[in-house]
Symmetry: C2
Subunit: 357 residues, 2 copies
Amino acid sequence: MAQRNKDQEPRSKAVTSYDVARRAGVSQATVSRAFSRNGYVSDAARQRILEAAKELRFRPNAIARGLITRRSRLVAVVMADVQYSFYLTLLHELHRSLHAEGYQALLKSMPSSADIDGVIPDVLSYQVDGVIVASARLSSRASLMCRDADIPIVLVNRYVAEDDSFSSVGSDNIDAGRKAAAFLLAAGHKHLAFIAGLADTSTSADRERGFFDEVSRQSGRQPARRTGDFTYEGGSAAARELMNLTPRPDAIFCASDIMAIGAMDVIRSELGLRVPEDVSVIGFNNALEASWTCFDLTTIAADIETMSWRAVDMLTYRMDSRAPRPQHEYIKGRLIVRGSARRPDAETIQRLGAVEE
Amino acid sequence: MAQRNKDQEPRSKAVTSYDVARRAGVSQATVSRAFSRNGYVSDAARQRILEAAKELRFRPNAIARGLITRRSRLVAVVMADVQYSFYLTLLHELHRSLHAEGYQALLKSMPSSADIDGVIPDVLSYQVDGVIVASARLSSRASLMCRDADIPIVLVNRYVAEDDSFSSVGSDNIDAGRKAAAFLLAAGHKHLAFIAGLADTSTSADRERGFFDEVSRQSGRQPARRTGDFTYEGGSAAARELMNLTPRPDAIFCASDIMAIGAMDVIRSELGLRVPEDVSVIGFNNALEASWTCFDLTTIAADIETMSWRAVDMLTYRMDSRAPRPQHEYIKGRLIVRGSARRPDAETIQRLGAVEE
DNA sequence: TTGAAAGCGGTACCAA
DNA sequence: TTGGTACCGCTTTCAA
């Protein structure tokens, strides 16, 4: 016999619908009908087929099905390889929602958001039915490739301001910024500051906008501002700079919990100040770490579960009907009151729909 | 025309190898040869084919290829839906290693480790070439199903003591436990304690074994011990109990960073003790959070990158040759010296191969 | 080196 | 309600 390329050695033959058909005494087509929901099958036949299938441990081959239906029921989930727990939660929730709709998640991570072009070829050759982009900017090249292939895209926790052609779902960041401002102002703070994430992300920009709008509306002033790149180190560095200003800020709203934690660590350990007595700190996301005693971080909880199912819902909708108009949804977050920010009166807390923990 | 079931509306026709063949003036078979590495194609033909493919934006359909080759080049990555950043890093690294070998990662997460049976059907019907199980125990039912289907499994960061039939790769937990013990004893601690993870995980059991062995070898005593379930809350509760003992432990080794952090938070905030002056704390994993100023946690770094590529390597090896004998690899971790544990003399630090940060 | 043709394991149309 | 049959897009003999 010809020697085999070990790289190509085929797997042992699997049970197919033909085997089931033979055993159940029906045609292969009938077996197919019994497993795909469409087409009529008599109860008697279905019974025998199911039984035979169970005996043979038959499972329809999703790959073969995908080939003929042109629907792989695979959805790519694209994510830059950030390490923060928030994104793991997002990943799990997206998986849950996809699974509930009968889709599989093909994970694509990449060194940085800039490398999204590199993952698209894989995504295309595996004939995914849709793409969910989380924590990455979409390059125009990448989006063009998907459009060519007629693959819908939904952005989660992110949207592209310049290009309106993708659906997106994220937190209501403007509302969140306003809430943070209202909370801090009601607690009597005078010198507010903001630590932004990456400059060109809508998530950060909108949190900033809501925050600044509300502050200037209520107090007529502008908060101080630094950029923290959504990282712990960035948050630390930004806080270091902000706390050197005169007047020194007495409250900081951070565009993410991780930056807030970085800021707190600098404020307390490096500058020897107290939180919230000297400075109040508010974060965003309600990441796992925010509830740890060491931080006890007041924050605005992103509703990851809702975001995930809305994203999947929008995606399946577009996959099914190819609705041409992109939608945008903004899920309101809830202010979680913990100990890192001075508390305003109970009435304000209630008005903001905040919950104490 | 018959009305269409909107659920089944097919995607617009994609570019196939036939289109490329026509344009390049060759047969479809030749196009196939040009894209799969096997078979001869003249340079001239290859040139024209590649050109035509580029013009038409042709990408081979991996689904169709998988159908005929019986190799989907899909690998399922199975994970319980824990939220700790460590597992996100692991996920990214596994993806990286898989991608480097030309495999796609099919993400399967589940509510808890116990639900692994539920994900196997998906995994089977998508004809994955292999399964990597991270952060989950493998049920015997699940493993049987995979064996029936002849799908190799590799466990990462976990192994099954009772059943030797799976390959696994993890940290060298015994070595890690010994290092932690040696470090703490050399620093002059007398009353050591251990916070275990889940009772039936090898990861925790081995860390415990190494730790206990070394402690009793050097001091003739047994450390105190509590279980923390690998969670922040579990670590907190365990520390609360341990610190009530007489004599009160003056050093705690925790089977994970997250439990160590939970323990530290209780020790400092609740009991008003100082770390490391009153109690030294050592964790395991070198999770992202361990380096934060607030914790500055001395820990043993799991080498996630090496674990990932070894896991993928073992998996591809078994997929290619179906080597029957399962292998087990234990990757040594490195002790990262930070501020949460009293430091022994420089010589000990060097002898343990520890690095200061 | 190339092309024709037979599948891979299903789905879906059509006629019975 | 069922069976026959033509694909889905690719890989892989086999002959030329």
